[in-house]
Symmetry: C2
Subunit: 339 residues, 2 copies
């Protein structure tokens, strides 16, 4: 009887460990195209279709890279390219304009395995800012480059550069005029115009978090910032810890929203800290940190993924352009406040 029991225990042990070994490594990808006052009643069928199609195109490309064994870095970069190259989003082509009708693009990237990071702020000529952020990470001793110096770095790195006019669209010129008109009409002083600044512009920062078959997370974010921004304003998107963070010990995060509140709340790192130190799920951590942002008066959203492929797509705005694809290829693409 004792021998039989020993045998059963041994068999159970081996069956469990072989199951563990056989377990398929997981991977996944999650993206956002910005959070804001995105309501079904204000959206034409045509625009809705265009957003759904572009989000699907972007995430499908990243998913294919991951499925074929590519790195999370490569998936994040190529996925964000699709959104940067589309005028639908506030990043790359179609970015919002500064007070001088000019362009100032921000982007950042972080590698969850090494904590290597790169970012650029206030560039005018780099076609794909996310690639410049990745180049800063690999080919400079710095993490964050800014302004004309960052544009010069991109040229030295042989990245695609374009004239500023490439990025500027009629839609964003209209947005700028509207925001400026509104400020003039209301004779707003700056402190009280904060709400209108945000509410009356288009949203659309883009971002991506990916987990590859090697279990490595990466996160990236790319944006044109806020319409009518002044004085060389830099938002949360190029700030490691605020707009972007990735760490294999916790999770990868890309944020979108009212950048000032996301900087003050150190949103991306705070989510990761709650996951690592308080063992919260990515969903619960995201909810708690967005609640803190809301308590300060800000809004926006995040996409988050941990090394098990658990995902959160949380926001406290009416909508967020977003999509998730798991390792089975199941696609979940959404715009409004339903899940």
């Amino acid at each position: 009887m004792k021998h039989i029991l020993t045998l059963v225990v041994m068999l159970l042990f081996f069956s469990c460990s072989s199951e563990k070994e056989k377990k398929q490594p997981t991977f996944g990808i999650v993206i956002h195209g910005g959070a804001g006052t995105i309501l079904k009643e204000n959206m034409s069928d045509e625009m809705e279709k265009a957003y759904i199609e572009k989000l699907t195109e972007a995430i499908t490309l990243g998913h294919a890279i991951l499925k074929s064994g590519g790195t999370s870095q490569d998936a994040v970069e190529k996925t964000i390219h699709v959104m940067e190259n589309s005028p639908l989003f506030n990043s790359g082509k179609g970015a919002v304009l500064t007070e001088n009708e000019s362009i100032a693009l921000d982007a950042s990237f972080m590698d969850g395995k090494t904590l290597n990071s790169g970012a650029i702020a206030g560039v005018k000529h780099i076609k794909n800012p996310i690639s410049a952020a990745i180049k800063v990470m690999h080919n400079s001793p710095h993490v964050l480059l800014s302004g004309a110096g960052a544009d010069r770095f991109a040229v030295e790195q042989n990245l695609d550069t374009v004239p500023e006019s490439y990025f500027i669209t009629a839609r964003r010129l209209r947005d700028l005029k509207s925001v400026q008109q509104l400020e003039t009409d209301k004779k707003l002083i700056l402190n009280s115009s904060e709400h209108l600044y945000f509410k009356n512009q288009r949203y659309g920062t883009v971002g991506c978090v990916a987990l590859d078959l090697n279990g490595n997370l990466a996160a990236g974010t790319s944006t044109g910032g806020m319409t009518n921004k002044k004085w060389g304003r830099i938002g949360d998107a190029p700030i490691i810890g605020a707009g972007t963070y990735a760490n294999n010990l916790s999770c990868g995060v890309s944020a979108t929203g009212w950048g000032e509140f996301f900087i003050r709340s150190v949103v991306a790192h705070d989510i990761a800290a709650l996951v690592e130190y308080k063992k919260l799920s990515v969903k619960e951590a995201s909810k708690q940190v967005l609640q803190k942002v809301e308590d300060l008066g800000g809004d926006g959203g995040v996409v988050v993924m941990d090394t098990h492929g658990n995902v959160a797509m949380e926001f406290n705005t009416p909508g967020m352009y977003r999509a998730h694809m798991n390792s089975e290829g199941k696609l979940n693409v959404r715009i409004y406040g339903d899940n």
Copy 2:
């Protein structure tokens, strides 16, 4: 017997609560003037005396503000002014130079009660960058301004501006030439020169954390960055969460060191997260986070204070210019690796 016992318990209760009520509110201030290879054998008696005197002057001023009921914001600002106005430190006058022999100053400030924050990066004409950071916080809808736009904002705010030549000292011109010569001699490619970049320049970012009699923390940091910096490089000093963080729920932090590693480690917020979420002391949290920085290959130091006035002055470099004064006015000023 029972009545006597009840009486004793009641007496104990009232004596405890009255002691609690009588407890003096605490306050305190801690500063740093940069961490690095600061060794007794390389320091003249005259220079040592100059540093001790300037650190003492700065912290004594801030302490007096706090003692007379001033705010932690005011104490941090005025204390940092003393160090910004001294050519001994790498901030304000005496800041290190970029590759083009120019100036690019960074600073940030955070209020621990409201989480309001302000920062500027890459400015050339603001005499006291910490004051510009505070103005950004109060008088703009933004948190982080950069480059010429930030200088323009300072002019609009009637802050003291100076020609770039005001900041430039013979010592920093020599430092720049040395670093550039070293790079040329060694024909270093950028990736491998990271260590030398840092090791062969002067350190001296300045920072301050203060706790006022109302129990409010504030933190500020001001720097010229790294000698020979390129491409509009921005370090950790103007990044909320990296170089500066303050939150009455956890602690105030100002960091100094190899900025790139401090950004990647989100040093200031990570210390606060360990204090808030894992209930570590400010000293233990600082040690753990600096160990993470060291594991990545970086070095530097932090000054930290919580709302009880507990303080940490931790660093993993040979020395750090630092000082602490508690509510009793006890001064602890240090340069080398002793405590």
